[in-house]
């Protein structure tokens, strides 16, 4: 491996800007770190270059641990967005800088300079000053300068940011060509997904300090695992859909094009439909794909090769769209059509069309939507405005439904609202939480978030499961939560009795297993802690130690639930997300 990052973490003022990033980049690979501004991608690049230290974790270059090695001894070449050329030096002096530092002889230096200038197609510019070059030429000089000392790794920090579209295209090609010619491992940081697609062998997508997904451009686009990646990599329509034994249902209609429908009970999922996978036709019969419903064309935009439509689905189509538009309430379906398609069937604003879906991709995320559940409408309404909940909903681009259960918490009373519980149910933490939590869990709630009134987004999420049956689901839910909350994940392993050496080594093994499963199956980096004693007591003690913590608790049976967790839950001091799986 050329570059290996292991649990790299960097905080600024207590906030993690790079959060537990682990990554392997192969020899000669062109890797793109993609993310919005403030996602931590530049900080990560600077950490690889050695320009900023890390608080935790290790960085290795070609098997050499460089975590504590100064930038000038790391043997990397770095190119900055604003070129950072030495303005008082000529192009030749700029390029030879690294060679002079290394006391290379004049003749060899000149030879290498000529070589580099040829590589970036700037022959004959040796004696110009940077100020006399165009932006594109300056950046070429910067690339040549960064390559002069034959670094093992080339790092590019938004190198095209300050250039106009045409130059950018040209320089992109040059850099890719140079990279192939030299076979040098390269990491490029950008916020431009088109650029990432055009250049990358693999892309890593960062959001809020976390490396969410890593993969080949095509795979990430076709099969994103998270809604952030789905919407950040190109446009996407997100639906709340149902996974049923027959397949994926969108708006009550089974979409045959969906991927394998797993067995198990029906549950809510998030479905991604790319705009080019939506078909519009004059009538249902004319569709070549599965019919979703009718809609009205809201907007037609011509962009040359493609035509973009916004289609508002009829109310009768019960397919909740999650924030596909520019704002809430204006959720319209995005459609793009090729020239071929729009020549065959011309549409104009206000026209009614039949809509079909060619391909539906289901996100593996276990958290689909939230339902605020309370005894009365005002209470439920208040709960749905809780700051942590609204924050989560906004970050997850999902929605909050409201469900009224007047006899919530009254034992033996049945549910009064219609239908099953879908998604994550939210209950206010007020007084006898444990009784209400048990009431909801016994009536089919799978994921229950018990939310204190003033709970804020957590800085640390503690994870624990009571039985192995709940392990995998708890990890999946935790990974999903932590993708949207910039917090530190800690798995708290608790074993009964007191610590002795045999129990201790057994405990450590379990922790390592849990960590590697989280990493391999869910891309979740978490730290681990080992405690001995009573589970509820240890968790309560750990939660009380620091502010802004949250607990994710996996359970698979409710037999001793109330007795065990009364103290922890009834205080109503911490947000607790209970994941119930594997129950009979």
């Amino acid at each position: 491996m050329s570059i290996t990052l292991d649990q790299v973490t960097k905080h600024y003022g207590g906030v993690p800007v790079v959060n537990d990033v682990s990554l392997d980049i192969g020899d000669g690979e062109f890797f793109v770190l993609l993310g919005p501004s403030g996602s931590g991608k530049s900080t990560l690049l600077r950490a690889i270059a050695g320009l900023s230290g890390v608080d935790h974790g290790r960085i290795s270059l070609h098997g050499r641990d460089v975590t504590h090695v100064a930038a000038r001894k790391r043997g990397v070449g770095l190119v900055f967005q604003n070129y950072a050329l030495f303005r008082h030096m000529t192009v030749a002096d700029n390029i030879e800088f690294a060679l002079r530092v290394r006391h290379m002889r004049g003749r060899a230096r000149r030879q290498r300079r000529a070589e580099l200038l040829r590589l970036v197609s700037l022959e004959g510019m040796d004696h110009r000053l940077p100020a006399q070059l165009s932006g594109g030429q300056q950046q070429r000089v910067a690339v040549a300068r960064a390559l002069a000392h034959k670094p093992e790794v080339l790092l590019l920090d938004e190198p095209f940011g300050a250039l106009d579209a045409k130059i950018r295209e040209e320089l992109r090609r040059t850099i890719r060509q140079v990279q192939r010619e030299l076979g040098i491992t390269t990491v490029l940081v950008t916020h431009d997904q088109e650029e990432a697609f055009a250049m990358a062998d693999r892309i890593g997508i960062m959001s809020q300090g976390r490396l969410l997904e890593v993969g080949a451009p095509h795979d990430l686009y076709a099969r994103p695992a998270t809604r952030f990646v789905a919407t950040f990599l190109g446009a996407a329509n997100l639906f709340l859909a149902r996974r049923t034994p027959d397949g994926i249902q969108v708006g009550g209609k089974t979409m045959g094009g969906a991927e394998r429908a797993a067995g198990g009970p029906e549950h809510e999922v998030v479905a991604v439909v790319r705009p080019e996978e939506v078909e519009v036709a004059p009538a249902r019969d004319a569709l070549g794909s599965r019919y979703l419903g009718n809609g009205v064309v809201d907007e037609v935009t011509f962009t040359g090769a493609l035509e973009r439509l916004r289609v508002r689905l009829d109310e009768a189509v019960h397919a909740p769209l999650l924030a596909a538009g520019d704002g809430d309430g204006r959720s319209t379906l995005q459609v793009t059509r090729t020239r071929h398609a729009y020549r065959g069937f011309e549409v104009h604003q206000g026209q009614s069309v039949a809509v079909g879906l060619r391909r539906v991709h289901v996100l593996p995320t276990p958290l689909s939507s939230f339902t605020a559940c309370a005894q009365s409408a005002p209470l439920a309404d208040e709960l749905s405005r809780q700051p942590l909940l609204t924050e989560l909903v906004a970050r997850m681009k999902t929605r909050i439904a409201v469900r009224i259960e007047p006899s919530l918490g009254v034992a033996e009373e049945p549910c009064q609202a219609q239908g099953e519980f879908f998604g994550t149910t939210v209950s206010a933490a007020a007084g006898d939480n444990v009784r209400r939590a048990e009431w909801l869990l016994r009536r089919g709630v799978k994921d229950l978030l018990v939310l204190p009134e003033h709970a804020a987004p957590p800085q640390r999420v503690l994870i624990h499961w009571m039985s192995e049956a709940a392990r995998s689901a708890t990890l999946a839910v935790s990974a999903s939560v932590l993708r949207h909350v910039p917090a530190e994940a800690v798995y708290v392993g608790i074993f009964p009795g007191s610590s002795d050496s045999e129990r201790h080594s057994h405990g450590m093994r379990e922790l390592l297993d849990a960590r590697s499963e989280a990493q391999a199956a869910h891309g979740l980096e978490m730290r681990t802690e080992l405690h001995f004693g009573d589970v509820a007591q240890e968790l309560t003690r750990r939660l009380a130690e620091a502010p802004a913590q949250m607990l994710i608790l996996g359970i698979s049976e409710l037999r001793q639930f109330a007795d065990s967790f009364r103290t922890l839950l009834d205080g109503g001091r911490w947000p607790v997300l209970i994941v119930q799986r594997g129950a009979t």
């Binding site: 900055f80 604003n82 050329l85 910067a142 000392h149």
Partner: protein, 278 residues
């Protein structure tokens, strides 16, 4: 020929008129009066006054000490400006404010303060005396006073330039393998060199014109610790206005030549870059 060029900024005529008017009244007119006053002397009188051994001694001290003070200030001003521009530390704001104190203090006060510290029985002078170092009433004291009062000019000229040196440049140099001293010499100093020269010029100009603080610590021994501005005042006190004006003209001339030389040096430095490009 017209000065008028199409511009989005209105009022060129007005501002240009104001500039010439203001400069003439405040700067050119008094200077012209000085030269005229000296010109009314007989040539041989003029030469006698300005080339008397006492006058020559005062030039040497005035310009020598000023150049020395400006040099000291460029070196230490750079270090102070570096500290202030680059590091966050408790009390940084206070030190930053302290820099300007010599601006605000009446110069006579600075003189008295320095004398208190460096006189033979002063706080520091007392310990220097047995070592054979006399500060007060020697050229050393004069240089010290001039350094004190011209220090803010050097610091304030360099500070903004240092703040503007892009960290990127240093980081780029670092990733290319350069050590700290190499970065300082090859990247930072060349970038702030124009600001350093400006600081030198300002500090020098301020020091040459200084009077108040020096007379307390200099002891004012003719030929030894007498600065030219003092000699001018002595002439004035003897109602020898023409003699004072004559010395003034000489100071004016020398200062002008030195400042011009520094400016040319800066211009040459800029041209060198452009020439290197061809």
């Amino acid at each position: 020929m017209s000065f008028r060029k199409p511009s989005v900024l209105p009022g060129f005529g007005l501002t240009f008129g104001f500039t010439t008017c203001f400069l003439s009244t405040i700067v050119l007119l008094p200077l012209a009066a000085l030269v005229l006053s000296a010109a009314s002397m007989h040539w041989s009188d003029f030469v006698r006054v300005v080339s008397s051994p006492r006058a020559l001694g005062s030039y040497r001290l005035s310009f020598g000490a000023s150049l020395l003070a400006a040099t000291i200030n460029v070196v230490f001003g750079f270090i102070i400006a570096w500290t202030l521009a680059r590091y966050e530390f408790p009390g940084r704001k206070i030190i930053d404010a302290l820099i300007d104190m010599p601006f605000a203090l009446p110069t006579a006060v600075s003189g008295i303060a320095l004398t208190t510290v460096f006189a033979q029985n002063g706080w520091i002078g007392r310990y220097l005396e047995p070592l054979g170092v006399k500060v007060a009433y020697t050229w050393l004291g004069v240089t010290l006073a001039l350094t004190l009062i011209s220090m803010p000019f050097a610091v304030r000229a360099v500070q903004p330039a240092l703040q503007e040196v892009q960290r990127d440049l240093e980081e780029a140099a670092e990733t290319l393998g350069a050590g700290r001293m190499y970065v300082l010499w090859r990247i930072i100093l060349p970038t702030v060199l124009p600001a350093l020269l400006t600081g030198f010029t300002l500090a020098f100009a301020r020091a040459v014109g200084e009077y108040g603080s020096v007379i307390f610590i200099a002891g004012n021994l003719p030929m030894k610790t007498e600065i030219t501005p003092l000699l001018i005042v002595i002439h004035l006190e003897e109602f020898d206005y023409q003699g004072a004006a004559a010395l003034g003209v000489v100071m004016l001339g020398i200062s002008f030549v030195i400042l011009l030389a520094i400016n040319l040096l800066q211009a040459w430095g800029r041209r060198r870059h452009v020439r290197a490009a061809h």
